[in-house]
Amino acid sequence: MRTSLNEIKKTEDFLTGKLSAPEAVLMQARLLIDPVLKMNLELQRKVYALVTLYGRRKLKAEIEDVHDRIFHDPARAAYREEIAQLFSKP
């Protein structure tokens, strides 16, 4: 892999605790003196969080499809009635 990709892999290994102890100490030292490396690490951390949000959005879309099917399935009329009863005003 080219150098920039190896740096990304090393950053990932650092963030996930996969570096050896000496490698981790070296990385911490580099982060103290290299603001670009530090910024890239924070950006990479942000990317993982955004990928999680993206994954959750996709999963929510799958769940919404299930919701639509259940609430439009003629065979599940009794189920829908049970749910509707919960929210009917006395």
């Binding site: 990709l5 924070e42 950006l43 993206y54 959750r56 996709k58 799958e62 259940i70």
Partner: protein, 185 residues
């Protein structure tokens, strides 16, 4: 009514997840709906809370973090109660929680407006990479599974592409960031 035990969950494919969510809708949504209704919530509140609870339940299942001693319904209800407390800033002491419902919600589960906009931007401008990255990091599929699904020649190629995508998306996020301080919180 079908029920699933924690040991039997298959969530590896969209079809398997559909069955998984269908079962939970049948068994757990009425329980969550009853809870939300009893707290004065609406059907829409119950739906939102329940769907978020399913997402978190899926993530815990995927991580292997489920207790086999608690039924799925009880677990989902526990998550829903915690979500209800967090989402509507309710006082924890006013919502009865038993020890089976001592679940931990993911940090920062509800995204900031800024993160939500960034994800929408990336979904449009970097869809292929976001699909690949979520397969690796969210679904936690193996490099071999991803090689097959995305048509790479080898697992190594898929892994190299993962790092290329991380670089690409990182640079897209940087281009969208206003200041360096946005990422140093």
């Amino acid at each position: 009514m079908m029920t699933l035990t924690a040991m039997e969950h298959d969530i590896s494919t969209p079809a398997a997840r559909e069955k998984f969510f269908m079962c939970l809708y049948e068994s757990a949504f009425p329980v969550v709906g009853k809870f939300v209704s009893s707290r004065g919530g609406t059907f829409q509140d119950a739906k939102d809370i329940f769907q978020d609870a399913l997402v978190i339940f899926y993530e815990k299942t995927r991580e292997g973090n489920l207790s086999v001693e608690v039924s799925d319904e009880a677990y989902v209800l526990g998550i829903a109660k915690h979500l209800w407390i967090r989402k509507f800033n309710h006082d924890k002491s006013t919502v009865p929680l038993d020890e089976r419902e001592a679940v931990t919600l993911p940090d920062h589960y509800f995204p900031t407006v800024e993160s939500g906009k960034l994800v929408s931007f990336l979904a449009r401008a970097g869809k292929r990479c976001m699909e690949l990255l979520q397969a690796f990091y969210y679904e936690k599929r193996s490099a071999d599974q991803i090689r097959n699904a995305f048509g790479y020649g080898s697992a190594h190629s898929a892994t190299v592409q993962k790092f290329k995508c991380l670089e690409k998306v990182r640079d897209m996020v940087r281009s969208k960031s206003v200041t360096y301080e946005d990422f140093t919180e």
